[in-house]
Structures are given as C-alpha cells and as structure tokens.
Assembly symmetry: C2
Homo-oligomer: 113 residues x 2
DNA sequence: TATTATACATAGCAATTCTAGGTATGTCAA
DNA sequence: TTGACATACCTAGAATTGCTATGTATAATA
C-alpha cells in the first residue's frame, strides 16, 4: 500500500509563491520543491484544480505568455484580494502550528527542544 | 456557510495526549482544548473513530473503569508500538511545519519574524 | 423538572488530495 | 531519426479524513 503524501494548506503555499512573482503552474511545482528542500512534491492533479479555484474566486488572475522556447505558458498573478487572503491564511497557519507545538511540548514521550 | 475547522494530524495529537497518562475520550477533548488554548475543539465524531482505529492497529489499549461519580469510562493506554508511532509522527510534523515555514519565509508578501 | 455536562457511539456528508489517465511540444542522445 | 525525457497543461474519479447530525444514557444543577 502506497503512502499518500497529503500536502495540506495547498492554497496557502500557492498564494505564498505568487506573492514574490508571477508564476506558471509547472514552475510552482518546481519552486515549491526547491524552497521546501523537496519536502513538498506537489502533484499536477493537486495544483491545477486549486489554481482554477483561486482564479474563480478572484485571488489570482491568469494570462498567457510565450516562453523563450516558443511554448505557451499560463502565468498567474496575485491580486490585492489574494494578498489579503495570503495574510489571513498565514496567520491561521501560525496559530495552528503554534497550537500543535504546544500540545507536543506537553507530551513527556517526546524530547521537544 | 459554516467554516469547517479541520484539525489535521488528529492521530498525532491523540497519541501525544496519551503519552502523559491514560485518558478517556471526553477527557481528551477537554485536555486538547486546554493545552492548545482552545485552538482545537475536537468533535466527538472526529475523535471516537480515530480512537477505534488506533486500538485496532495496536497503538493503544482500552479498558473500562468506573469514575468516582459511578459512571463508566473507557480509558486508553499508549502501547510501546504507539509510543514509537508518536515519535515517528512528531518527527514528520516537525519536518512538515519546517517546510511550510521555509516557504512562507521566502514570501515577500508576508512579514515573517 | 428542565437544562446542562458528562460519556460513548455511528451513518452519511463534505472537502481535499491523490491516482491515473490524456494531450502536446521541445531537447538531446543513441 | 527515433526514442526517452522534460516541459506544460488538464480532468475524472478514488481515497482519505474530519465534520454534521443524531442517538443513547446518566449525573449534576438550577
């Protein structure tokens, strides 16, 4: 039985990537792997539906642009609304992670530095 | 439309609680809320199925014990196997959280201390 | 006596990610 | 030139997981 990777908070990670520069889907997958030291290897089947959802809700805007190679790429740009959502979700993440760590720290079975 | 709370890593949190002392279901819900400063309000519909799964896999053992009030409680005890799983999952959490934070830190749209 | 807290349980819904498949072009080595 | 691999996009359906809603029952309290 194959283990499922389960990257949660996909939306937060995508918004975060786009806050630096406009990116296209494939690039996000590569960048996310790089910045997370390959902890995250997001699947296309995960990313593309999320991107379409973000666009539908006005958090990102898409535009086509030709790559130097001649291939078409679909770039995504973070909107003002998307930036606000990013800050909201980042705060939620901080709160969530802090709470998990608080619970783990209270566990004698672990050696939490 | 009601917002879903979505406590992920439920299993890790439960194992962590049980590494301190044996607990019964209702107590875990109360304790988890307390230790997480009420960030986590786990639902019974979430907890009980998870407990049954942990028991089935040998991570915890259950036993009945009468409370001072006269009511029956079902206590859960962390097994050696459960302790090992706790350490494994805690490590996975550290790695996961570290990767998310690394990505967020690389985002100019956020003010990550 | 009615409400709230305690205490356990499950069926089915909803949300999310993955698997698995499809389409197509560019690059590079054999 | 052909075959493999990387690039680049997309979606349907499966699997997982937590939540909603509901049920049962007892003890405490207003």
């Amino acid at each position: 039985m194959k283990k499922k990777q389960n990257i949660e908070h996909t939306q937060l990670l995508v918004l975060s990537l786009l806050s630096g520069e406009d990116m296209y889907g494939y690039q996000m997958i590569v960048e996310l792997a790089r910045r997370s030291d390959h902890t995250f290897e997001m699947k296309e089947g995960t990313l593309y539906p999320v991107l379409h959802g973000l666009e539908k809700n006005g958090y990102v805007e898409a535009y086509q642009q030709e790559a130097p190679t001649g291939r078409m790429r679909k770039y995504y740009h973070l909107t003002r609304k998307g930036g606000a959502m990013l800050r909201t979700e980042a705060e939620a993440w901080q709160s969530y992670a802090g709470a998990v760590n608080a619970v783990l720290r209270s566990s004698p079975g672990l050696n939490m530095a």
